[in-house]
Amino acid sequence: MSKSMTAAATSFVETFEREQDNLPGAQGWLALARKNAVTAFAAAGLPHRRVEEWKYTDLRQLLDKANFEAAPTHQGAVLLPTRASACAFKSIAAYKMVFVNGACRADLSHLAGLPKGVELHPLADVLSEHWAKNLIEHDAHENGATRIIDLNTALMRDGVALRIRKGVTLDKPLHLVFLSADKGASHARNLIQLEEGANATILESHHEADATTYFADRVCDIALDKDARLEMVRLIDEAASALHLSSLRVRLGEASEFAAFTLLMGGGMSRCQTFVTFAGKGGKAHVDGVMALRGAAQGDVFCHTDHAVPGCESDTLYRSVLDDEATGIFQGKVIVRPDAQKTDGRQMTNALLLSRDAAMNAKPELEIHADDVQCAHGSTIGELSKEAVFYLRSRGIPEPEARRLLVTAFLDEAIDRIAHIEARDALRILAAGWFATGTGGAA
């Protein structure tokens, strides 16, 4: 065993060796892909802080300490948390697909009435299809952050495979709910392909269902063909001692549009990785979000945007509010390759620290190899303005209300980037409630 194989990494490899013949796709091309992935994973080990892309989060140490087995299949009833976040999207009419410990639960899902041209299947059913293979074998450049996806490729069992055919619009959002009901690690994989001119909105909720310690590993591979449009609104509010890792890999075709908004509120440690690759001219990508953390929670956002072709726009805005001993992390990189002239690339992170013990680490980076581009990046970290609080109080607004108004306004400027109005309103209410209650987040 190599030095990279610490206890948790060894345990993952052993799980693979034990289970490989029972994993979906064991008879086809995927068997080899899984073997290659597990070999690459064993060579690299779990990421730690000497990997530049994991500068502030030591996943290896966290997983070694937690010592998770694979989470069992959960067939019984599931108990949703009572927090407001667990029913934030409740009033939005949507198709719904529920996953428990990474496995689809048809009995909890509602998918009746999907429009013609919208193909929605469990992952296992599409693994022999070309489009699924193309998505899983994503050919974008590797880096120190994408490598951990090998773990998911090796161990993934279930997930959603969504393909929307040319010109079709999904008439209601698809709400994907990921629940962890038992101790252990689970690896879900979603595949999303929007053909030319297709259009969809996806909502995601990530919560515990009665479990307290678990590792939720979620990967979503997305391909947008010409003129396709996808908006994702994601809510990640896991249990206070959970580890959440989600990776979105997005490939944008010509003139396609992708927008992802992530509200990250809970969890012991939650890391959200987004990898955007422009593969056709005129694409637009928004990767925005809010971190609202308290207690000892750690939120880690990693955004990687690769402008490989000319004339594309990328824009990222992350707003964070950190209380108690919470830690926020933003690592971002915008790469503009030599041919990618007329690129417009923006990345901004702003953080408010509400307590002396809260911390924010921000590292936005630009790497530009073309000369006719517009790129900007920035970072601010500060406290709530005393002057502003005084000004509001001098008009009769009590101090807690003045602070709430300022903090929610700060977060709303990011939340307002969500195009889907009901989802935007739901997250605005949730963010305001998080601050007002003081126990709505990580507790």
Partner: protein
């Protein structure tokens, strides 16, 4: 209405106000004039309860209550309003949202029912119109990117809606051209009433052509060195502050 007795205030280690006595009756408008550094703005901040201003001696009584024992928002809810010399920018909070939150906070503190959206909107439009404040401006974040004139008009709008008992206008004329000054002064004059007192703090006499005071005080080195009628301001304009035992600014 307001009684300030032997008020001493230090900021850091420095004593800025050194024994102010000031009595203002209901409906009266008092001007406080003085050179830079005489303590004018300090007086306005002490009245509003800003942090960092330590009262070492003396008292302030407002409508029979000890003002110094009240928090910033309690003072506002009791009817004290400070129109800021430099209004603070509030990113992300629209002027409309801010006005509604402030008005309803004050109504709640006074045991009144909160105004619903329709009645509130009607009230704001009615008060905004004479100040040339458009709906568009009300939708912008409060004071963010406002010109000097817009900021002072927004302060006047707040005052018109909150209807304070004691309004303290800190250098309301600074940064205004003559047209903007007239609009703001007219707004202030509309608010004059037998129940409402005002303290108009200014460096220049010009503002007092438009907001005519009942009493003028000259502040110098933390003390009121002279008190008179509105003609005192004109006299000051001719002779300068040096003639009143004050340092020329």
């Amino acid at each position: 209405m307001l009684e300030v007795k032997n008020l001493h205030v230090t900021v850091g280690d420095k004593e800025i106000l050194r024994g102010i006595d000031l009595t203002i009756g209901a409906g009266e408008v008092h001007a406080i004039m003085g050179p830079n550094g005489s303590g004018k703005s300090t007086l306005s901040y002490v009245l509003s309860g800003r942090e960092g201003y330590e009262v070492t001696q003396g008292s302030i009584t407002f409508k029979g209550r000890n003002l110094l024992a009240m928090s910033v928002d309690e003072r506002a809810n009791a009817g004290v309003f400070l129109a800021f010399q430099y209004p603070i920018e509030i990113p992300g909070v629209t002027t409309m949202t801010f006005l509604k939150t402030a008005l309803n906070a004050q109504r709640k503190a006074r045991g009144l029912e909160e105004l619903d959206a329709v009645r509130f909107l009607k009230l704001v439009r009615e008060k905004a119109k004479p100040l040339n404040i458009s709906d568009d401006m009300l939708k912008r974040a409060l004071n963010v990117g406002f010109s000097g004139g817009e900021k002072k008009r927004a302060e006047t709008l707040q005052m018109s809606i909150l209807e304070p008992v004691l309004a303290v206008l800190d250098e309301t004329d600074s940064g205004l051209d003559i047209d903007a000054l007239k609009v703001v002064a007219e707004g202030v004059n509309r608010l004059r009433s037998p129940e409402r007192s005002m303290i108009v703090i200014t460096h220049y006499q010009r503002l007092l052509d438009y907001i005519v005071p009942d009493v003028v005080h000259v502040l110098s080195r933390g003390r009121i060195v002279r008190t008179g009628g509105k003609d005192l301001a004109l006299e000051l304009e001719r002779t300068g502050y040096a003639g009143f035992g004050a340092d020329a600014a």
